[in-house]
Every structure is written in structure tokens, then in C-alpha cells.
């Protein structure tokens, strides 16, 4: 697979380290045990489009959110994870 890193350009996937599902969100510390278990262990694991985290280990050390079809390995979009995280979680004081 070829991943277009927003900082480094197109690179082979072997430069990256895979983490997994980018849709799960770390719960508030006071969340229930059930919520924590779901965050750490449970995954939708869809057979189709998958939003997932990759780390450009042999490059810029950016975490990326990659939109990819796990049936075909086709990649639709790559975004800096930090930008995704900031966009969905407004900075609070």
C-alpha cells in the first residue's frame, strides 16, 4: 500500500506502524467500566470503509487518520490525526 503522508508525501506502507480503529474515543476518566472496556477492547471491525490510525514511524512521526477500504485496501483520504482530533474536540481550558 502507498500512503500519502500530508507532511512527507507518498510513501510505502512499510514506513508506517498500524494502530487500529480511529473511531473509538478515550472516555472521560469517570466513565463506567463498561465504557472503558468498549474503548479498550471492542471494535466494529467493519468489512468496508475503515477509519484507522497509522504512525509515520520511518518519517515525520505524525499520527495519521487513514480512510481505507479493508476489502480492497484502497485508500481514500489521509489526514493528520492531530487535525482530526482538534476538529472534533474543541480545545477547552
Amino acid at each position: 500500500m502507498r500512503i500519502i503522508c500530508p507532511l512527507c508525501g507518498e510513501r510505502g506502507a512499510e514506513e508506517f506502524v498500524y494502530h487500529g480503529d480511529a473511531t473509538v474515543r478515550r472516555p472521560h476518566p469517570d466513565s463506567s467500566a463498561e465504557t472503558w472496556n468498549a474503548y479498550v477492547h471492542l471494535r466494529d471491525n467493519p468489512a468496508g470503509r475503515h477509519s484507522e490510525l497509522w504512525y509515520h514511524a520511518a518519517g515525520c512521526h505524525a499520527w495519521l487518520v487513514v480512510e481505507r477500504d479493508v476489502r480492497t485496501h484502497e485508500i481514500f483520504a489521509v489526514t493528520l490525526a492531530q487535525d482530526v482530533a482538534l476538529a472534533r474536540r474543541p480545545v477547552t481550558a
Binding site: 500500500m1 502507498r2 510505502g12 506502507a13 506502524v17 494502530h19 478515550r26 472516555p27 476518566p29 466513565s31 467500566a33 472503558w36 472496556n37 474503548y39 479498550v40 490510525l53 504512525y55 514511524a57 512521526h61 505524525a62 499520527w63 480492497t72 485496501h73 484502497e74 493528520l80 490525526a81 492531530q82 482530533a85 482538534l86 474536540r89 480545545v91 477547552t92
Partner: protein, 1014 residues
């Protein structure tokens, strides 16, 4: 086992014999398009000397010499000859070369002849002509598909002892050399606009079109010559011979600045974003050229791909269709036209299509008698009649070959005509053609299923091709030369256009007329003898019928049950015939029956080339510490710790073993001072206003409260609550920390911090970078360490205990202005420092410290002694941080903050992690103090049975303690903290050990910590 010197080319001495005594080539013809008649080469097959020419394959040279019998089949050991002239060859497979370079299962049809080539037939004993296992032919009725699943079950113990050894001995093909491969391999990556696969007429046109548009082109050709079928046929292109056209096209491509032509290169797989190809750089030579690999792996990254892989001819399925001398019709033309070899003296041609008439014409033109043209179709064109007549061949339309004769070579064939009359022909060559199958393998490497075309009687490329791929030429199912040239040009131009170039379609040259009309004939009924579908694996039509009868009707069941298509030719000549037969037996269409999945590699690829240079010492990179050269000078013994090579111990003359040395080194640290390179520990520089906030969230304990100039030991958890790593972190400034990690986790902790700061808490204003390689760090440990440090720090820096107490850190200069960092931390439990300098000064610093320490008795120590010291102090390390332990398990439970959130806090509360019966860290010492402890032993109570139910934990680390004078250890024991003083067993059956050990505190030396604060 071979030595490195063998990897360099040896001169192959010319044989002493003069040319005139060279063995004759009685089947060599006067003209050959592709061999150099002037250049004679000697080779041996099964020890017999033969000769050929440059441009020959082993197969063509054997045929020229009159050799017909080349191999034996897998199961029945039937005599086999040469079926094809290409990579699809199922029969003529040999062991090429000898000694450490022996290559089993090499197809003679693609092995280029070189001077001194040695080949040996395989899977026969004692000889090719007299193969004892040939007896299998006569018990063939028993050895039907899958017979082994139904027997050999009684008695159960006989399988491994009797049946299986017999089967294993009989099975298999060639022999592995058993020696290390003396040759080198390499890998490379290239980028281009258009990748063209195959340099036949379509591929050449595609490459020309793309090159003319200005695209960067890579053209891969499996053969050692460009041209594909043009080399095999007598054709006209644009009013000149196809060979002339080929020369011009090749010259234009060679002259083009952006066209890389890779001959001898098989594109074997379509992967995501890259095509894999193997270039056989040195396989056509006795040994690879100096400084060249045997083979090279190409990863080709192209914007567009044009597949012009051509097509493969199908055999016909009739009784005893496997005798040496039965050959594919197209291959016959290849041998005649390209190699100038007559594959026989008297031929019969059997076909179901118009194309095969060429074979009659070409054989006749070469002076080979053609006894008959047997056309399965009831009616043939006047053109075919004319060709047969001109060749003097008896034309039998609507006829079939129902029998063949000959044992080690074909001697004749029986033809049954439409009226049922038998015609007996003597012949030593039977050219057969069942039509052509497009080479669609690469088109379905991404899961697309080839589509059956009833009109073309072939599987065509799937509608859903791998991204960026187009197919042209015969691979599309349109085999006519004119179509190949046109579709190649079209596909090449379109590929260049899609890659961003302005293109125009090149002119398509005219060709002479041709026809490829065909009427499928999937098997000859009512014939005599086994009708083979898969030649190498001996799968006959009757086996397909048996599979159908037994319910193995899905194509994958057929394949797996009968082994159809699973031989080294990967079913290139057998798959379609097998599927067609299954369809017939199932009374379904071929389209309904479907096809098996094509998977990489398209053609077998050596393991060596896929590994490249990554073998032996170069299997993985070796990371060396900054003081490696110095340690080498000291005679250090090194040990692999992950990717690092670290000094394990520094033996002195007269020391009997590592234990003596490590004991001396550890004692020196306790009694004087020692030096140890600890640069491999991970170092992460963390900066920013929110640095302390981040640390508080990744560490279980508190870091925001750490004063500037101080160091704190920290433990971090994974989000699942188990311990991830530990280490010390120093606060260099309010917004700057330097974290150390374990050697093993340096990379993963760095990644984890990036994850936390970029993804979990992107709002934090903090940046970090690993500086592991940038700093050399040396531990200076022992009661005299302060004196050594005093010797290097620049004036003005006070390292007195009061000014620089335990757990202090500072940025300072040493040795007259060299910037450095000093940490007063201690893994050994002694008064100790770690001194860090930019990595390029590491070696110099070590030498300076040794010099200064000399009068103080300074001793370098390796990681064995380091381990001894830490076990004495009960510090957890890799064996205790196994990823399976909690902070509480290793005695760090109280470090987990109750007042803040941190990674792993929530999940660490789970029942399983807080259970009171979890094994926890303890120290142990042998009850018999003279006894030696071993890590990996399990704890059992004294008077219990040796059962898993009584397993209470295990020994994690052991060391011989010079301070205590006996072995000590650490372990994880259930309820261990309550059991101090208890005696349990360290049970170690795999090493015959069963020792009584006393449970003690993990901290066995200086439990109050006076020394390190001194």
C-alpha cells in the same frame, strides 16, 4: 557448506576436447532466428556430454541433441519429455547446477544454456531410464486421486513409522542442496509512469506508444529476448519480416532516454501500490558476474500498468498424451523457428483450431515429415487443406487421437476418424493444440475473477482489474497479431495519457492474414490409457471424474482433492482443461463452474531474492553503542539485546567463564567504581508549556511536582492497566523534561507519547523527539564514583553530596567545555552517576573516565554485572516487565496516583488486575546456599504434586551475588509479600531442577539505600 570465496566468478576452463569432437546435434536445423550457431557451448545432462549454442535453452539444446526423455512424473513416475517452450513446462524439470548451487525443479524450457551447464534429472532411482518407482504406473488403479485419505489408518502408530516415511520418500521432486546458498541477491525499487509487462508484439507497441509520448517506461520481459511469439512464428509486419520489425522496435526503445528494458524479468505479483518482479541477473552464467547478484527483486511503482502477458497453449486430453515426444504445437514452432531444432523426424499434428496448421507448414518448411494433420473439427477451411496437402500430410478432419505408442519416447499414434476407422501412424513427434488460454494471472491478483467466454473458449481478464491496469494483446483473448499490435498501441497510448502525457496513437503496421478459429475439444472419449490433464501431478481425466463422483465439485475442492494445478507449473497447462472436464461431468457450463483463484507468484520465485541481502549478519541492522570500538579493544564479549550489540562482560586472562568475570565486575562496582555504557536506554526530549501535564497523564505517578534539577523514577501503564515501561525522567527546566525508557521499549514509548500528544490530547502545547542516538550515556557507579566524576567536570560545578544529592540532574560542561548532562541516579544501588555527552564524544569520554579512574580501580562492566547489581537491589527489568504484570505485581502499586487521571488507571481497577492471588515480586535464595538458581523455574509448595493446579508462580531473574556469596533471584509468587521466610520449590523439570528456595525481600543489598545516598 560453502565459503564466501565461492561467490566470486570462477573461470570456466574451456574443455580440452576440440570442437570437432563435440557431440553432434543431429536435430539441429540450418536456420534459427534466436541462436548463435557460431557460438558452441558444452553442457551435461545426467553426466552425459552434449553441446548447444548460445541462445539455446537447456530444452532446445537437449532436443537438438536428440534427447527426448527428460523427467519423471510426480506420482506414477511416468517417462516424460518436453511439453512446452516456456514457463508453463510441467514435465521437463531438472536439477540445474550442482553442489551448493543446485537448483531443484528448474524448467529446462526457460534455463538458458551456458558453457559448462550441468543438469540432472530428478525424482527417479536409480536412473531416468530405469526408475524403480515406475512400478507405480502398474498399480495406478489403486493410486487414484485422494486414495491416501481412505487408508493407512490402521494401526494408528504405523502412520509416522511406516506409511508416512514411504510416502515422503516417494514424494517430492528435486533435492535441495543442503548447503548455504553461496550467491547474493539484492532488492531495488523503481518508479515510472507506465509499466509494460511482456515484450511481445502488444507489449512492444504499448511501450513504443508510451515512450513516444514522453512517459517513463519500464518494460519487463520474462524471456532473455524481446519479441514473444514473434520469435517463434514466420510472420510479416509492415511488408517485412516480423523479426526485422522487432529489431527496429527494440532499437527505438533502447535509444529512448526514459525506457528501462528489463529482460529475464518476471513480474510475479500485483500488490497494493507496487508490482513485484524478479530479474535473473546471473542465472544464464556459470556464476553471477563480479559485484552482481544472482537475482534482483524489483518493486515497481508505476502510475499505469499495461499487461501484455500473451497466452498459453492448452494440451489436448487423450489417452497416453504424456509420452516423450508429445508437445504443444506452438512450442514445436518455437523450437523449429527460434531455436532451429527439429523436435522429431516424423510428426503428427492434432488440433481443434486453425492456428495449428502453421505447425504443419513450419515443420514441412524445416524438412520434418508430417504424417498427418488430425483436426478434431468435422470441417476445416480450404486453407488448412491446402497447407496439409502442400506438406504432404494426410488430413483427417473430425478425427481424434485415441492411442499412442512408445515407452521412453513416442513411436506412433492411432487416429480414429469420424467413421470410427483407425489409422495407425508411426511418428516420434505429436504436436497438439487445444487452443490458447490468455495469461490472465496478474489480472486477478486483487481478487477479480476471470470471466469465461464461450465464444473464445477461454477465461478472459475480469472486469474489475487491479487499479491502473490495462490488458492488451493475446492476454485479452484476441490472439491475432494484427489485434495484438493494435490493442498494444491503444493501451500504451492510453496509459501514457492517464499518466499525464499528451499522446497520439502510433500507426499500426499491416500484418499477413491469419485465423484462430477454434472448436473446443475438452477430452477424447473412448481412448486407451490414462488421459492426463495435469502432467506433473499425474491428474488424469478419470481423477476429475472421481472427484466429481465423490462430491468434490467446487473448483477449489477439485484442486485440493486431486492436486490439479498445484504442481510447479501452477496449473498453467492444466487448469482450464480440468475445469472444463468438471463442468462436463457436473453437466454445468464452465462459467457456472468458475475458476480457482490466481495468487502470486505468477511463476515460482526464489526465496533468496525475496530476502535480498537480509541474511547472516545482515539479516537485521546492528546498532552499536558509542563505545563499541573501545569495548572491542578491551576484549569485550558482546550480546544481542534487541537490535543492539552490547558489551556483555569484559573477560580478563585466566578467567574461566563469564560468571567469574561478571562476579569480578559486580564486586568492583560495590567496592570501587565501574563504568558501563547505558546509551541504549531510550531518551526522549520533551518540551513545551504542557510538558508536565503530558507526563502526568502518561506516568502513573506524579511529575508536575518534580522540581527543576531533579530526577524521578516513573512507571507508565498501557491503557489496559498493565505496566508498559519504567525509567527515570529528569526535569531540566520548567518546560523541559528528559525521559529515559528501557532499551526494549525506546521506540514504542516514543510512539506512545506521540499518540498521546497528537491524538488523545492534541490541545496540549508540547513537543517531543527521541534523542537516544544523539547522546552517549555512561554509568559511573560505585563508592569511588564521585572521585571519577570530579575528574571530568569543569571547575565551578559542585558535585558534593549536599550540592548534588541523589536524584539530581544538571546540564554542565566537562573536560574543558564539552556540554554534558549529569544525573545522579543509580541502577546498581551504589553511589552512582550517569554522564551524558553528545554521541560523538562517547568514545573519548569513556577513555577519559578510564584514565581518571585508573588509580581508583575503575573497572568496565557489562550487562551481566549490570544484571547482578539490579537483581541484588530488586529492581524490575525486562523479565519482570513482561507485559503481563501490573504495577502492584512488581511492587510499584503505591506509585499509582489516586488524585489524577493517567493512561491505564481505569482498566487497572478491573477485578483480574486487583485480585489478591496474583503472583507478586519476591526475592529468593536457595536453601542450600551452594545451589545454583535458574530463571524459568516454577514455584510449587514443598509437599505438593507437580501439577499445574499447584503452580504458584515462577523465577523471573537470577544472579550470583558477590555481595552475598550465593545465588539469588527474583520471582513472581502468589501472595508473595505475605510469605517471606517460607520455603518453596523452584521446580525446573526441563533442566532437571527441583530446588528448595527461601522467599525473601526482593531488595537483598542495602535495603535502606544508604549507599546510593552516600
Amino acid at each position: 557448506m560453502s565459503t564466501a570465496s565461492e561467490t566470486f566468478p570462477r573461470e570456466i576452463a574451456a574443455p580440452a576436447a576440440a570442437v570437432s569432437t563435440r557431440p553432434a546435434q543431429p536435430f539441429r536445423l540450418a536456420e534459427a532466428a534466436g541462436v548463435d550457431r557460431k557460438n558452441l557451448l558444452d553442457f551435461t545432462f545426467d553426466g552425459q556430454r552434449y553441446s548447444g549454442h548460445s541462445g539455446d535453452t537447456l530444452a532446445s539444446a537437449l532436443l537438438a541433441s536428440g534427447v527426448r526423455l527428460v523427467g519423471r512424473s510426480f506420482k506414477y513416475h511416468r517417462p516424460r519429455g518436453i511439453l512446452s517452450a516456456g514457463p508453463e513446462e510441467p514435465n521437463a524439470i531438472v536439477e540445474l547446477r550442482d553442489g551448493a548451487r543446485r537448483e531443484p525443479n528448474t524448467r529446462a524450457t526457460v534455463a538458458e544454456l551456458f558453457q559448462g551447464l550441468t543438469a540432472t534429472s530428478q525424482n527417479r532411482w536409480p536412473s531416468l531410464r530405469f526408475d524403480v518407482m515406475g512400478v507405480n504406473q502398474f498399480v495406478a488403479p489403486i493410486l487414484a486421486a485422494g486414495f491416501y485419505y481412505k487408508t493407512f489408518m490402521w494401526p494408528a502408530s504405523f502412520w509416522e513409522k511406516v506409511y508416512e516415511p514411504l510416502i515422503r520418500r516417494a514424494a517430492g521432486l528435486g533435492r535441495a542442496s543442503g548447503s548455504h546458498d553461496p550467491d547474493h541477491y539484492e532488492k531495488t525499487t523503481t518508479h515510472c509512469d507506465v509499466l509494460v509487462i511482456g515484450a511481445g508484439p502488444a507489449g512492444l507497441m504499448a511501450a513504443l506508444a508510451a515512450v513516444r509520448a514522453g512517459a517513463r517506461v519500464v518494460l519487463c520481459e520474462e524471456d532473455f529476448l524481446l519479441g514473444g511469439r514473434l520469435l517463434s512464428e514466420r510472420r510479416m509486419i509492415g511488408n517485412r519480416s516480423a523479426l526485422e520489425w522487432l529489431r527496429e522496435a527494440e532499437a527505438e526503445l533502447r535509444a529512448a532516454p526514459e525506457c528501462r528494458i528489463l529482460r529475464r524479468t518476471s513480474v510475479f505479483g500485483v500488490f497494493d501500490g507496487a508490482y513485484g518482479a524478479v530479474e535473473r541477473v546471473g542465472d544464464h552464467l556459470p556464476v553471477p558476474p563480479m559485484f552482481q547478484p544472482r537475482q534482483r527483486l524489483w518493486r515497481i511503482i508505476a502510475k499505469r500498468h499495461v499487461l501484455c502477458a500473451g497466452s498459453l497453449e492448452r494440451p489436448l486430453v487423450f489417452g497416453d498424451n504424456d509420452r516423450p515426444g508429445v508437445m504443444l504445437a506452438g512450442a514445436v514452432r518455437t523450437y523449429v523457428n527460434r531455436f532451429g531444432v527439429a523436435p522429431g523426424r516424423r510428426a503428427v499434428v492434432f488440433a481443434n483450431n486453425d492456428d495449428a496448421a502453421r505447425t504443419v507448414a513450419d515443420l514441412a518448411a524445416a524438412g520434418v515429415a508430417v504424417a498427418a494433420l488430425v483436426d478434431a473439427r468435422a470441417e476445416v477451411t480450404p486453407e488448412i487443406s491446402r497447407i496439409a496437402e502442400a506438406a504432404g500430410a494426410k488430413l483427417l478432419a473430425g478425427a481424434r487421437i485415441t492411442e499412442t505408442r512408445g515407452r521412453l519416447a513416442l513411436r506412433g499414434a492411432v487416429v480414429t476418424d469420424a467413421a470410427g476407422t483407425r489409422h495407425n501412424f508411426d511418428c516420434d513427434l505429436l504436436a497438439m493444440s487445444g487452443g490458447w488460454s490468455p495469461t490472465v494471472h496478474l489480472t486477478s491478483h486483487h481478487g477479480g475473477k476471470p470471466v469465461w467466454s464461450e465464444a473464445k473458449a477461454a477465461f478472459l481478464p475480469p472486469s474489475h482489474l487491479p487499479p491502473g491496469m490495462a490488458v492488451a494483446g493475446a492476454a485479452t483473448g484476441d490472439p491475432l497479431l494484427a489485434d495484438c499490435l493494435a490493442s498494444g498501441a491503444q493501451a500504451g497510448a492510453e496509459a501514457a495519457r492517464l499518466a499525464g502525457f499528451q499522446t497520439s496513437l502510433p500507426a499500426i503496421p499491416e500484418t499477413d492474414g491469419e485465423s484462430a478459429e477454434l472448436q473446443p475439444l475438452w477430452r477424447v472419449r473412448g481412448g486407451k490409457g490414462k488421459a492426463f490433464v495435469d502432467f506433473q501431478n499425474d491428474v488424469a481425466a478419470s481423477d476429475v471424474a472421481l472427484a466429481q463422483r465423490e462430491g468434490f465439485r467446487a473448483v477449489e475442492h477439485l484442486k485440493r482433492y486431486t492436486t490439479l494445478g498445484m504442481a510447479t507449473d501452477q496449473g498453467k497447462t492444466s487448469n482450464v482443461n480440468g475445469l472444463a472436464l468438471m463442468a462436463e461431468f457436473n453437466e454445468r457450463t464452465i462459467a457456472q463452474t468458475g475458476t480457482t483463484t490466481f495468487r502470486p507468484p505468477y511463476t515460482p520465485v526464489s526465496v533468496g531474492v525475496l530476502a535480498g541481502r537480509h541474511r547472516g549478519h545482515e539479516f537485521r541492522p546492528t546498532r552499536l553503542t558509542p563505545t563499541h570500538d573501545w569495548a572491542t579493544e578491551q576484549g569485550a564479549v558482546f550480546v544481542e539485546t534487541g537490535p543492539w550489540l552490547r558489551a556483555q562482560y569484559f573477560p580478563r586472562p585466566g578467567e574461566a567463564d563469564w560468571l567469574v568475570t561478571a562476579t569480578r565486575e559486580a564486586r568492583a562496582v560495590r567496592e570501587a567504581v565501574g563504568l558501563c555504557d547505558v546509551s541504549t536506554l531510550g531518551k526522549i526530549d520533551i518540551q513545551g508549556p504542557d510538558a508536565a501535564v503530558l507526563l502526568d497523564r502518561v506516568y502513573a505517578n506524579n511529575f508536575a511536582s518534580l522540581p527543576i534539577g531533579r530526577v524521578r523514577y516513573g512507571v507508565m501503564l498501557r491503557e489496559d492497566g498493565f505496566v508498559m515501561d519504567d525509567g527515570t525522567t529528569a526535569r531540566l527546566a520548567g518546560d523541559r523534561f528528559l525521559m529515559t525508557t528501557t532499551t526494549a521499549n525506546a521506540v514504542s514509548v516514543s510512539r506512545h507519547l506521540d499518540f498521546c500528544s497528537q491524538w488523545l490530547w492534541p490541545e496540549l502545547d508540547v513537543q517531543m523527539i527521541s534523542v537516544t542516538e544523539q547522546w552517549a550515556q555512561i554509568a559511573v557507579a560505585g563508592p569511588r564514583s564521585r572521585a571519577v566524576i570530579e575528574g571530568v567536570v569543569d571547575a565551578g560545578f559542585d558535585i558534593s553530596n549536599a550540592a548534588f544529592p541523589y536524584m539530581s540532574c544538571a546540564e554542565l560542561t566537562i573536560c574543558g567545555g564539552l556540554k554534558a548532562r549529569l544525573f545522579r541516579i543509580s541502577f546498581s544501588g551504589e553511589l552512582a552517576y550517569e554522564l551524558a555527552v553528545p554521541a560523538r564524544y562517547g568514545d573519548a569520554l569513556m577513555r577519559r573516565l578510564m584514565e581518571i579512574g585508573k588509580p581508583l580501580g575503575v573497572t568496565p562492566y557489562g550487562i551481566e554485572a549490570l544484571g547482578v547489581l539490579r537483581v541484588e537491589k530488586g529492581h524490575p527489568a525486562g523479565n519482570e516487565l513482561s507485559g503481563q504484570t501490573t504495577a502492584a505485581d512488581i511492587g510499584l502499586g503505591r506509585m499509582m496516583s489516586k488524585t489524577k487521571d493517567f493512561i491505564g488507571k481505569a482498566m487497572a481497577q478491573r477485578a483480574g488486575l486487583t485480585a489478591t492471588d496474583r503472583p507478586v515480586l519476591v526475592g529468593i535464595r536457595p536453601w542450600d546456599r551452594a545451589a545454583r538458581l535458574r530463571a524459568g523455574a516454577h514455584f510449587l509448595a514443598r509437599n505438593v504434586e507437580n501439577l499445574a493446579a499447584n503452580d504458584e508462580g515462577y523465577v523471573t531473574s537470577v544472579a550470583y551475588s558477590p555481595a552475598l556469596g550465593h545465588w539469588i533471584g527474583l520471582g513472581l509468587l502468589q501472595r508473595g509479600t505475605e510469605r517471606l521466610g517460607e520455603v518453596v520449590r523452584a521446580y525446573d523439570p526441563v533442566r532437571g531442577g527441583d530446588l528448595e528456595v527461601e522467599i525473601v525481600s526482593p531488595v537483598l543489598v542495602d535495603p535502606t539505600g544508604d549507599r546510593l545516598r552516600g
